[in-house]
């Protein structure tokens, strides 16, 4: 199954996906030689977390057909939960530096954020999206899009109302000296964030490809009627999808709390970045989103490095325009049906 066939490899290299991945790798290598390895390290750490957010976005779009514009708010919920869980743990650690909590505390924090994220996802599915689905499925994409925008406004203002608009951040999760790889110092937090991202992406991929429920999720995304016909209960799958994708965003938010303190609109930047990724990768393509996340994050790091930090949204947007002109289905879009087919 894993045999390498020369013509298939050649064909892949010539495809949009192959060209873009190769260009990205080459650009990363050149920038690393030119400016130093921190370029690569930054791109990879940010790419890992961006992958979590974008995967969730792609999943919600692919399975539920919802263009989710409230996804950043689940990231925000992750940061908020992490802040309120980790602050007391941190006080405990500072008085008892040798306790078990200094190692386990951050993990407990992230798991708590994941659970709350999943619950928030289920709540929004039950209270918002399933209500719309029950009433009308006409113009579903447009109506659900408007709902997500409304949900985003409500959640951002809810945060401001109940928790205030100030920055609620922490200095770091893990104390100790930074790791040094390739002459770059990587703080423990960044290294752990990347490690977590890899772990979550990998387990998610295994889940979606090999388990019965994972297959059912893919089946629903490919053909809802077909899924009903083989006996898959739609409501359960839709709820699970929403829970998973919101949990992914919350994990990203929680593990990046040391970089992004919690404040009401903290989710907007990851939301826009994730949309860049999902559009580049092809709407609804979950695995493409992982690769796309690294490409976008590299692009952003390179822009900051060579052009200036004010341009970090301009360049990806310009690239999206170019890609959509030449390849409307996205770079890896060939294997998924476009939104218009649904």
């Amino acid at each position: 199954m894993w045999k390498i066939e020369p013509d298939r490899l050649l064909r892949w290299l010539k495809s949009a996906a192959g060209i873009s991945i190769l260009t990205a790798v080459a650009a990363a290598a050149m920038a690393t030689m030119d400016r130093g390895p921190h370029v690569l390290v930054n791109a990879v750490v940010m790419g890992g977390m961006l992958a979590l957010v974008s995967m969730g976005l792609a999943l919600v779009f692919g399975v539920m057909n919802i263009p989710m514009f409230a996804h950043g708010e689940y990231f925000m919920i992750g940061t908020l939960v992490a802040y309120y869980v980790f602050t007391p743990i941190n006080t405990h650690i500072s008085t008892h530096p040798d306790s078990m909590l200094s190692a386990l505390g951050p993990l407990i924090t992230i798991v708590a954020a994941m659970l709350v994220g999943a619950i928030a996802g289920v709540a929004s599915e039950v209270l918002v999206f399933s209500q719309l689905r029950k009433r009308s499925r006409e113009n579903w994409v447009m109506n659900s899009f408007l709902l997500t925008v409304g949900l985003s406004v409500v959640l951002i203002n809810g945060h401001q109302l109940f928790f205030g608009a100030d920055f609620k951040g922490i200095v770091r999760f893990w104390s100790g000296a930074p790791f040094s790889i390739l002459d770059v110092f990587i703080s423990r937090d960044r290294a752990m964030a990347f490690f977590l991202a890899v772990l979550v992406v990998l387990s998610f991929w295994l889940f979606i490809s090999y388990t019965r429920t994972g297959r059912a999720i893919r089946a629903v995304s490919q053909d809802e009627t077909g899924a009903l016909m083989v006996g898959i209960g739609l409501n359960g799958i839709l709820m699970l999808t929403m829970a998973l994708s919101c949990a992914l965003a919350a994990v990203a938010g929680a593990s990046l709390l040391f970089m992004y303190p919690s404040y009401p609109s903290v989710g907007l930047e990851p939301l826009y970045m994730a949309w860049f990724v999902v559009i580049i990768a092809g709407l609804g393509n979950v695995l493409g989103a992982v690769v796309g996340a690294f490409i976008v994050s590299l692009l952003k790091v390179l822009t900051v490095e060579y052009i200036g930090s004010g341009w970090d949204f301009v360049v990806p947007s310009a690239l999206i325009i170019v890609i959509l002109v030449f390849k409307p289905s996205g770079l890896f879009g060939s294997e998924v049906r476009g939104i218009l087919d649904k």
Partner: protein, 235 residues
Amino acid sequence: MLLEVKNLNAGYGFLQILREVSLTVDRGEYVALVGPNGAGKSTTLRTIAGLLRPMSGEIRFKGEPIEGLAGNKVARQGIAYVSEAMNLFVNMTVQENLSMGAYTLRDKGLRKDRLEFVYALFPRLVERQNQLAGTMSGGERKMLAIGRGLMSDPELLLVDEPSFGLAPQLTESVFESLNALKKRGMTIMLVEQNVTKALAVTDRGYVLENGRIELEGRSRELACNDHVRKVFLGV
């Protein structure tokens, strides 16, 4: 009676399509539902399969009422529906599509038996095991759709327009596999526009016109019926 439909009314929104449709299918029977375009044949199957909520009427399967149950629950009762559009999972391989067909079966041994059964019925699918369903030809997809339906070990197979969009040769081979199934005791309800063909292979038939059952009887007799010959065969 395996399936019993009584005074079924169904449609889409304000548009009523089926009017007081009543029909029965007995265990082991091969029943045709024929009629002109737009008569409501597919609507009848969709309603039985739970993809469309009936406005009124009764559908009983093995004596239990199933009208108004969602599609996934109907599938779990033992009714497999092979739609005209096939509704395959296009980005999954043939093998994955078949294993999705057995989604409701928990017993591993039974799943394996069913897979062997389907592969024996459609040897072509064995060759295509690892191909994506979306990249196959129309005839192969039809076989896969029927195969996926059979994976759940159903007691009743509803087949919608197996000849739709297929070359005559392929149509023939799809009908042959349905015949083989019938010989093994499968209960099949067939919806078909090709009236001659459908009445030639089935035991019993219903003629649906404008949402009403106009005629019913043994297929051989229906094929000779004056009304049928005039309306469908142009004789």
